[in-house]
């Protein structure tokens, strides 16, 4: 890691551990995960449902519902401030201000009984000294920035009067209103129509560039990753299993799970291709986090697993320059799957 990169770092997460206490026992939703985000950079976090992507994001925001969850270890440093040591009042000054979050469900993430304008105004007035008139003007300006037509009128409307795409735009406007250093987008396009997905994604990336915001994009869609991210981390069963620059990852995935994910991406059927080609899948299921195998959590589904995989958890190792993978056999895996 070069010095220049360190200076630019806005978020540094080290050895983050988040556990949930449930009736069926304790499980480690996020287990020893480290990553960092630079100014203006997009970091994608990829993985299947339940792999700990969202909990990682909520841990960074310190919004993990407690009980049952709790961040039990590691450090989260945003612009030099150790977030995990702040008290709740200090943390509130950071949320929505220096760091904000967009959620997966635009249909349910906005308060149905508050006008769109009021919901954006609220975040501005919480963090900035503004009269309500100034804040409203700023809210309308934010709606214009996210390319909502007729922002003056839309600000007066309630969430149910807006389409899903519009609502997600409003969420983005709200999240970016205070010009945060870091934006976390948790599957921001998953719940939207395919045609809208691309627009929203383009909007997020565009605004991120203009405003110089660091972006953590959580997704299970590798297509989205390829379009937007500079760096990618792949998570499986609460652990980071691979991290690389996006080109490296696509050209040379080093973890069998990453390779499995790529192989199971549906390719656009081109003329002449076999139309009855079956989609690849990763056999088996994500293991229950309360009952993980002693070795590599992916071993039961991995065609390359050897005895060592089942006995010992492979440490995260640098396999190439700035390319990390947690697999005993990473060195043997070369080229695209």
């Amino acid at each position: 890691m070069s010095e220049a990169r360190k200076d630019d770092t806005i978020l540094d997460v080290k050895n983050l551990q988040t556990v949930f206490f449930t009736n069926s026992g304790l499980f480690r939703a996020v287990d020893d995960v480290s990553f960092n985000v630079r100014r203006g950079e997009t970091l994608a976090i990829v993985g299947e449902s339940g792999c700990g992507k969202s909990v990682t994001a909520l841990s960074v925001m310190r919004l993990v519902p407690d009980p049952p969850g709790r961040v039990v270890g590691g450090t989260v440093t945003l612009e030099g401030t150790d977030l995990l040591s702040l008290d709740e009042a200090e943390m509130r000054k950071i949320r929505g201000n220096r760091m904000s979050m967009i959620f997966q469900e635009p249909m349910t993430s906005l308060n149905p009984v508050m006008r769109i304008g009021d919901q954006i105004t609220e975040v501005l007035r919480l963090h900035q000294e503004m009269t309500s008139r100034e804040a409203w003007a700023k809210a309308v300006e934010m709606l214009r920035l996210v390319r909502i037509p007729e922002p003056d009128r839309r600000a007066q409307e309630y969430p149910h009067q807006l389409s899903g795409g519009m609502r997600q735009r409003a969420m983005i406007a709200m999240a970016l209103a205070c010009r945060p250093a870091l934006l976390i987008a948790d599957e921001p396009t998953t719940a939207l129509d395919v045609t809208i997905q691309a627009q929203i994604l383009a909007l997020i990336v565009d605004l991120q560039k203009t405003l110089g915001t660091g972006l953590i994009l959580i997704t299970h869609d590798l297509g989205v990753v390829a379009q937007t991210a500079q760096r990618v981390i792949v998570m499986y069963a609460g652990k980071k299993v691979e991290e690389a620059a996006v080109e490296d990852l696509f050209e040379n995935p080093k973890h069998p799970y990453t390779r499995g994910l790529m192989a199971s991406m549906p390719a656009v059927i081109s003329f002449g291709a076999k139309t009855d080609a079956r989609l690849n899948e990763i056999p088996g299921m994500v293991p229950s986090l309360t009952n993980l195998p002693p070795g590599c959590a992916f071993a039961p589904r991995c065609s390359l697993a050897i005895d060592r995989c089942r006995a010992e958890y492979p440490p995260l190792q640098e396999v190439d320059g700035d390319h990390f993978a947690a697999c005993w056999r990473a060195a043997e895996l070369v080229g695209a799957p």
């Binding site: 925001m61 919004l63 509130r92 000054k93 950071i94 949320r95 929505g96 201000n97 904000s100 979050m101 959620f103 469900e105 349910t108 993430s109 906005l110 308060n111 149905p112 009984v113 508050m114 609220e122 975040v123 919480l126 963090h127 309630y158 149910h160 969420m171 709200m174």
Partner: protein, 315 residues
């Protein structure tokens, strides 16, 4: 919206006509009228005297004729004469209304101002000692009949202060007015407060799980703002419904409470009139209660639209 209100008002009118027929018929289905009761007490029956009295009171007319007379009178503001006091029914009923209205309003105010904040508190601290304590107290509120609670309050007041609040139409001091109205209002409102608390709690628990609550936290909103500004406004609809229904149930509670505390309100008067089969008083009072209930329901529906922008009454 305007068309909706007009239609709603028309429907209210139909409901009230229906209610008036039911009241009227039910009253006359109950065996014995005032004449029977009077003559039974005398222990001697002269059929001609009885027939004369029935004729005087108009009880010999066919039932539909009696009904039309009543409704016709109502439309002219003539409620008839009380059989017992022989004064115009309006004069008997009117002065009693403010007493009961004051009690009912205080009871509702009490139940909302106690029930809603405690319900929020209970939901926010779900599973805590506070939550369990509040739930037990509210369960007791639902199980204690208001007349028994009223008696307990009276006994406590006697043993603590050596006296108990006695109704006085013109209370001299603020404390006297409080003792006269607020204490019975609390006795009758305790049940509503308990119910309001439980509904608020369960509604809040539902809302606190919603995504937009997480969004509010992600904005940096304080817990107070999250609970009251974001959650309560969404959770309040079922609470309003319950308070609206309680407003109607309150009359039942007031009948016993007015009796226990010896307050000359409408509710106690209704029971007395019923004992004498004082038709003009009973049917007009029940009609009044029906109007209150129908108007309360209408108000609740209008409040829905005012609070939740997704609810619009069209066409």
């Amino acid at each position: 919206m305007f068309a909706y209100i007009v239609r709603r008002l028309a429907l209210m009118l139909v409901t009230l006509i229906g209610i008036s027929i039911i009241i009227f018929v039910l009253l006359r289905v109950v065996p014995g009228n005032i004449v029977d009761i009077l003559f039974d007490a005398a222990g001697f029956v002269d059929p001609t005297d009885k027939a004369n009295l029935e004729k005087e009171l108009g009880l010999n007319l066919p039932i539909y004729q009696q009904y039309l007379n009543w409704i016709g009178g109502l439309l002219h503001g003539d409620l008839g004469y009380s059989y017992v006091s022989e004064k115009p029914a309006l004069q008997e009923i009117l002065p009693r209304i403010p007493i009961t209205a004051r009690l009912a309003a205080l009871a509702l105010l009490f139940s909302a101002s106690i029930g809603i904040p405690l319900g929020v508190l209970s939901a926010v601290h779900q599973g805590s000692k506070l939550d369990y304590t509040l739930r037990v107290v509210s369960l007791s509120g639902l199980s204690l009949p208001s007349f028994w609670l009223g008696l307990l309050i009276l006994m406590a007041s006697v043993s603590l202060f050596g006296t108990m609040p006695i109704y006085n139409p013109n209370p001299k001091t603020w404390t006297e007015a409080f003792a006269i109205y607020a204490v019975p209002a609390m006795a009758v409102g305790f049940r509503s407060a308990a119910l309001t608390m439980r509904i608020t709690r369960s509604s809040m628990l539902e809302i606190l799980r919603q995504d937009y609550i997480r969004t509010a936290r992600a904005k940096g909103a304080s817990e107070t703002s999250v609970n009251y500004r974001h959650a309560l406004k969404n959770a309040i609809l079922p609470v309003i419904t319950v308070i609206g229904i309680e407003a109607a149930f309150l009359i039942g509670g007031l009948i016993v409470t007015e009796t226990v505390f010896n307050i000359p309100g409408v509710a106690r008067f209704l029971v007395e009139a019923l004992r004498w089969r004082d038709y003009p008083i009973v049917q007009n009072l029940v009609m009044l209660i029906a109007v209150v209930v129908v108007v309360a329901n209408f108000t609740v529906d209008m409040l829905y639209a005012a609070i939740d922008p997704r609810i619009r009454y069209g066409d």
